[in-house]
């Protein structure tokens, strides 16, 4: 079996694990897993921007905020949650375009600052405009999605386990969509952008446009992530969407492996699930995490996924050597 079908098997196994894992566990574990999925979606999007298009964005949390607040405000006005999602996506995408259009004309390190400034501005608006956003007290009580057909309740999203499966479904769908994008000619263009933007430009690839697209799509994923978070935790406030949160998501992408498909999931797991297993480290966790990021960057620039790939390659060569000897 070549590597490709190992990968497929891996995905199927992973999916099985994700489906079985939360059964029989307490509500806390389920909510941790749910949160992990939500952040994976945000990290997936940032991975497109950072890993494929090579742009540093420190604003992913603000796009989550846009998605979350749009969804929250609309659902509290009576809209069913599912109908708020396209608006969250659209809002995040449009803001991504508006921000990216001027911002992507400048070099990488400048973009980091522009997005940082943008994130902080969004935070300020969320905090100060309490007539709309509830200010520092935020918004709460957003209803969970309700799925009934002809009067029969398909499933009860107020049950955490059911909602977890729903989020899992959404995550799988977004991952598949992203995979479709990456596999398409757009994905090839993104990779070209990453490897040799000057050559790409000379071949007719409008690098500005494609970078903007990657940025906007990444932001839209952030918006989606926020829109899911809103009914999940049923409470959102500006403090959840600060620059520090954006940094956290960025580090997830980096630790997981920039530009790899699996990376965001690994990175998010390390930030969200792993602490639960390492309770004894408790308050030291962030320190260990930051240190781990630095070490990963120095010794394994392709992140955790890079380590997995290396191991896989080494096993493959070892097996080859065994077969020929």
């Amino acid at each position: 079996m070549n590597f490709f079908s190992w990968k497929c098997l891996g995905w199927v196994l992973l999916l099985a694990v994700l489906i079985i894992a939360p059964i029989g566990r307490g509500g806390y574990i389920i909510s941790v897993l749910s949160l992990w999925l939500v952040y994976s979606i945000a990290a997936m999007g940032l991975n497109l921007t950072l890993g494929y298009a090579g742009q540093i964005s420190l604003a992913q949390a603000s796009f989550m905020a846009i998605g979350a607040y749009v969804s929250a405000l609309l659902s509290m006005a009576g809209w069913p949650w599912l109908t708020t999602v396209p608006f969250s996506l659209l809002a995040a995408f449009v803001v991504g375009i508006l921000l990216g259009y001027p911002a992507l004309r400048v070099q990488g390190h400048y973009l980091a600052f522009v997005t940082l400034a943008f994130n902080t501005l969004v935070f300020l608006v969320l905090r100060n405009e309490d007539w709309l956003t509830g200010g520092i007290y935020g918004l709460s009580g957003m209803p969970r999605p309700n799925f009934s057909l002809f009067g029969f309740t398909l499933f009860d999203a107020t049950q955490n386990l059911h909602f977890y499966y729903f989020i899992l479904l959404l995550t799988v769908i977004s991952a598949l969509a992203l995979w479709g994008i990456v596999r398409s000619p757009w994905g090839r263009a993104f990779k070209a952008l990453r490897e040799n933007p000057i050559r790409a430009e000379s071949l007719g690839l409008d690098t500005r446009r494609i970078t903007l697209l990657a940025f906007a799509i990444g932001s839209a994923y952030g918006g989606l992530s926020g829109a899911i978070m809103s009914p999940l935790v049923q409470f959102i406030d500006p403090a959840s969407f600060t620059f520090a949160q954006s940094l956290r998501i960025l580090l997830m992408v980096v630790v997981g492996g920039i530009g790899s498909f699996f990376g965001p999931f690994l990175g998010a797991a390390m930030a969200i699930i792993l602490p639960e297993f390492m309770r004894f480290t408790d308050k030291y966790y962030l320190i260990i995490y930051a240190l781990a990021v630095i070490i990963v960057l120095i010794f394994s620039p392709k992140g955790l996924w890079g380590m997995v790939e290396n191991a896989g390659a080494r096993i493959a060569t070892w097996r080859k050597a065994r077969a020929t000897s």
Binding site: R183, S184, A189, K191, A192, N196, S202, L203, D206
Partner: protein, 248 residues
């Protein structure tokens, strides 16, 4: 005489006190291979960059098929039908040779949306394979481009530049750093392509042997001005040219 593919009119460019290009005009006829040579400091690279829009000339204009070319992004130039090769770093090292070539053609096929929703190879695999075969890179089709030798990468560079069926290709020192055996193959492939497709080439080169054996016509620059033009034989025998190279 049909209208020129590329016409350069009275281009001048100075850097500080140095006049790198002084009032240079030339016209490139469709289907010809034009060589642009000159000793170091002659201004040929500056002229080349003015033509490509990397540098803004102080005066004069460049027209492609009668249309002005200044101020356009490289991607716009490519879509107008102008291709180019690079001196260095010209391939996408981690993509396979096939992927490199498909990429070179994909931006000219369909719209952005069709490129998202359509086939992953944009229907270009057959064409790409043809191009790869033409450049004798078939055995490396699925290898990462960065793993190839320097000369092979130069061949790939040319393949990519040709993939979009440009009307004009500007080749920036294609022979630079390529070993003699590969050089022969490169020259042969370029000449054959030009014959078969009537694509116009403008070649900047230091390697005299390469230029003389490939180009139909040669223009010689020295100190920012054209000092001679003609067939390779005429130019090679031209005393002014010999002096320019030996004089220093």
């Amino acid at each position: 005489m049909s209208s020129p593919v590329l016409s350069v009119k009275n281009i001048s460019k100075s850097f500080g006190g140095i006049r790198a290009v002084r009032d240079v005009s030339l016209a490139v006829q469709p289907g010809e291979i034009l060589g642009l040579i000159g000793p170091n400091g002659s201004g040929k690279s500056t002229l080349f960059n003015c033509i490509l829009g990397q540098l803004q000339p102080d005066s004069g204009e460049v027209q492609f098929q009668g249309k002005p070319m200044s101020g356009l992004r490289p991607s716009a130039l490519s879509r107008m039908g102008i291709g180019r090769t690079f001196q260095q770093l010209s391939v996408f090292p981690q993509l396979s040779v096939l992927e490199n070539v498909i990429l070179a053609g994909q931006e000219h096929k369909g719209s952005m949306l069709s490129r998202l929703l359509g086939k992953p190879d944009v229907g270009l695999t057959a064409e790409a394979d043809q191009m790869i075969d033409f450049f004798r890179l078939t055995h490396l089709r699925n290898n990462p481009a960065g793993a190839m030798s320097y000369g092979q990468q130069k061949l790939l560079d040319a393949a990519m530049a040709f993939m979009s069926e440009p009307k004009l290709v500007l080749l920036d020192e294609p022979a630079g750093g390529v070993n003699p055996t590969m050089l022969g193959q490169l020259r042969d492939r370029l000449a054959t392509f030009n014959r078969e497709h009537q694509t116009t080439f403008v070649v900047i080169e230091h390697n005299m042997e390469f230029v003389m054996s490939l180009c139909h016509r040669v223009i010689v620059l020295a100190e920012g001005e054209i000092i001679a033009q003609g067939t390779p034989e005429e130019v090679r025998a031209n005393q002014t040219v010999i002096n320019a190279y030996l004089g220093g």
